[in-house]
């Protein structure tokens, strides 16, 4: 920050430079707070630093295992490369600052044909060559030190005639401190994303199975929409001649409910390996979950779909424990909840068999969907039945989309429990 207008009084120039330093420091926190993504945060930082404060900048950030350094910057900030931490052994200056957190200011000999300090500070051959071609006068290496650990480094270069002053170095150290804090938050966020992605993948199949004589569709909106995980889960596995559909929920929302939901889903899958019959699956699942999750209420609906050899007709055996309401949607618009025998214990398992023809659909909707509450009260079974009647004969995909839209519009922006529905259509 030594640029100045010719003829400008020295005091004014120094004051302007001090102001720019101060502005830079305050802008770093604000600008980097806008994103929790590491790459976008680094791009913001590099944009603030170059070309005014430094002619060239490089940022290195350790990966979560501390084995590799991701490198951002150079002449093309879009580029990203990485190096092994083991390669730092030969770069004395960089290794020192990564170990001690201390700033390294190297005055590069510009009149020397090969600037030397950069060999000890820039840990990538291509970037090092790029830096050397700039013929820098000063190279400033700063540790990204935060919460007691060095998580990376920042290298700034300046050309001849505008080396780093003591005040510039202090400003750069403050920038590095603030940047390190933001980048560490982004690293923690990335770790959380990896965790929630793993949980999310365990709650639902990545895609529904292809069964030529059947058509499947699903809609899922978690209560914690930004996480995509919750206490509701669904599954579909098998072939068109013997397809298993699972729709379930455990009490609770978000990350807290997800482990129990994952366990329930896996228990159903394991039980179905031995027998696809709903009574066997629900019985074995209950036996497996009772000791593991004694205080968790698990609602389950399991449907075994067996398509006739020629297609166009299927027998569906349904088992239910809890309050999930399967709905049968006939092509002609005849819509009705599947009838189960009345039981004294509302949480005991109960079973039903239905026969469906080409175009008929079975909807397994979560209780959270039926209990969705908007300005006009609860969504409820009657609205679900009315919507299904309107979309009878249109197909599983259309109905799934229409149902999601209808419920979300009904909510009118209000919060909701997990919303989920799994639909199978016969004979498409």
């Amino acid at each position: 920050m030594t640029s100045h207008v010719p003829g400008e009084p020295v005091e004014q120039r120094l004051l302007a430079t001090a102001r720019r330093r101060s502005t830079l420091i305050s802008e770093v926190s604000t600008a980097m707070a806008g994103s929790l993504n590491i790459r976008r945060s680094v791009l913001r930082l590099l944009d603030l630093l170059t070309p005014e404060f430094a002619d060239w900048a490089l940022l290195g950030l350790l990966d979560s295992a501390g084995l590799r350094l991701d490198l951002y910057g150079g002449l093309d900030p879009r580029g990203l490369t990485d190096v092994s931490v083991a390669e730092l052994a030969s770069l004395r200056s960089l290794q020192t600052l990564m170990l001690t957190g201390q700033t390294e200011l190297l005055h590069v000999a510009v009149d020397h044909p090969e600037p030397d300090g950069l060999d000890e500070l820039v840990p990538h051959r291509g970037l090092r060559e790029e830096a050397k071609r700039l013929r820098p006068a000063d190279a400033l290496g700063l540790a990204l030190l935060t919460r007691g650990s060095v998580i990376g480094f920042l290298v700034l270069l300046r050309g001849d005639g505008r080396g780093f002053t003591v005040r510039d170095v202090s400003a750069a150290e403050e920038v590095a401190r603030r940047a390190a804090l933001s980048l560490d938050s982004a690293r923690l966020y990335r770790a959380r994303v990896e965790l929630t992605s793993a949980l999310q993948a365990a709650l639902r199949p990545p895609e529904l199975p292809k069964a030529p004589g059947l058509r499947l569709a699903a809609t899922y909106r978690a209560a914690a929409e930004h996480l995509d995980i919750g206490g509701d889960f669904y599954d579909a596995f098998g072939t068109e001649s013997d397809l298993a559909l699972v729709c379930g929920s455990v009490r609770g929302q978000g990350i807290v409910a997800a482990p129990a939901a994952i366990q329930a889903r896996q228990s159903v899958r394991t039980a179905a390996r031995f027998s696809r019959r709903p009574d066997s699956v629900l019985g074995a699942t209950a036996d497996a979950l009772r000791p593991e999750l004694p205080d968790v209420e698990v609602n389950l609906c399991y449907a075994r779909v067996q398509l006739s050899p020629g297609g166009g007709h299927a027998t569906i055996d349904i088992g239910r424990s809890g309050d999930l309401v399967p709905v049968l949607v006939g092509t002609g618009g005849r819509v009705q909840p599947v009838a189960f025998p009345e039981l004294a214990d509302p949480f005991a398992s109960t079973f039903a068999r239905i026969e469906v023809e080409r175009g008929d659909m079975l909807v397994l909707a979560s209780s959270g969907l039926l209990r969705a509450t908007g300005p006009d009260g609860q969504y409820g079974i009657d609205r679900l039945l009315a919507l299904c009647a309107r979309y009878a004969g249109t197909g599983a995909l259309v109905l799934a989309e229409a149902l999601e839209q209808d419920v979300v519009d009904f909510l009118d922006g209000q919060g909701h429990d997990d919303l989920m529905a799994l639909i199978v259509e016969c004979g498409s």
């Binding site: 806008g34 791009l43 944009d47 982004a186 929409e225 309107r390 922006g413």
Partner: protein, 337 residues
Amino acid sequence: MTAVGAAGVEEFERAVAGFDAAAGRGVIGELLAAGADPICVIDEVIVPSQHQVGLRWQRGEWTVTQQHAATEVALAAADALRERLPEPANRRGHVLLACAEREWHALPVTLVGLAMRSAGWDTTVLGAGVSPLRLSRFLHELGPDATAISCSVLAGVPTTRRFIEASAAAGVPTVVGGAAFGGDARRADALGATAWASSARGAVHALQGLPLLVPPLPPPRRELGAELAALHEQRPSMLRDLAARWQPFGGGPAGVRRPDSLADAVRDCLEQSLHAVSAALLTDDPAALAETRVWVEAVLAARGDGRAAEHAEQLGELIGVQLREYPLTDALLGTHW
């Protein structure tokens, strides 16, 4: 790459009119196999057919259900397109695509995503009815080079603005498009978008000119923010009140319900009109109001309302009465409905 002939366009329109998804897939597959440019297939075959689907509903020829079934044909066509797109050797960057809350037309954003993929961009398509919270999650998770937002209904404009804000806060530039933006960049500019596009090809072209970083957006003017908040808060009660007062097809005998298709049309007219007010305020473009009045009149006339123009006019007056305490809205409605 070859252009798309008229025969292919007509064949696809026939598949859509017959709600025949397999035929629609087949037509698109044949066009691509014959060497058609995927972006031409999107802009010249699939998108025009969808425009016709919307007009058929507007003219009362199709119900909402038929509209959905026809859109399924286009979605099947999109699947056929997706399956045949080659993996590009070099990726240009990553684009996050989404529709805002209250925007349920997922097809345009899906098609634009495919056009971008065909041009070498990685894409993540979040689909329809996305909340700002969900968009933010993906902005932070993916760190995309751009956000592409599709908005075909004015109801989606307020959340589109929030998408643009969220993207800009993360430094990510935005490309927007869709019928809600009108025929030029005015509304997109007013919302703070980095670029506007009128077609899939335009969106791909816009990506190439985007900056790496954009600054955060300034907040909306205080008085504008206050009126928008009031409109949002009072919308349910205003809808109930307007539904009781506005009877475009006549009230009918007491206790007798309108047919579902007419009730749907009346509800849509009321909702779209209120959304148009918010959109006009937010985009500083009163044309959104005039366009909505014309649309309401067309919807009513197509369903047999002999006094459609008068009823459309009356709807504006009734909304004006409800919103007369709000100076910005009052001024807009008084001169532009």
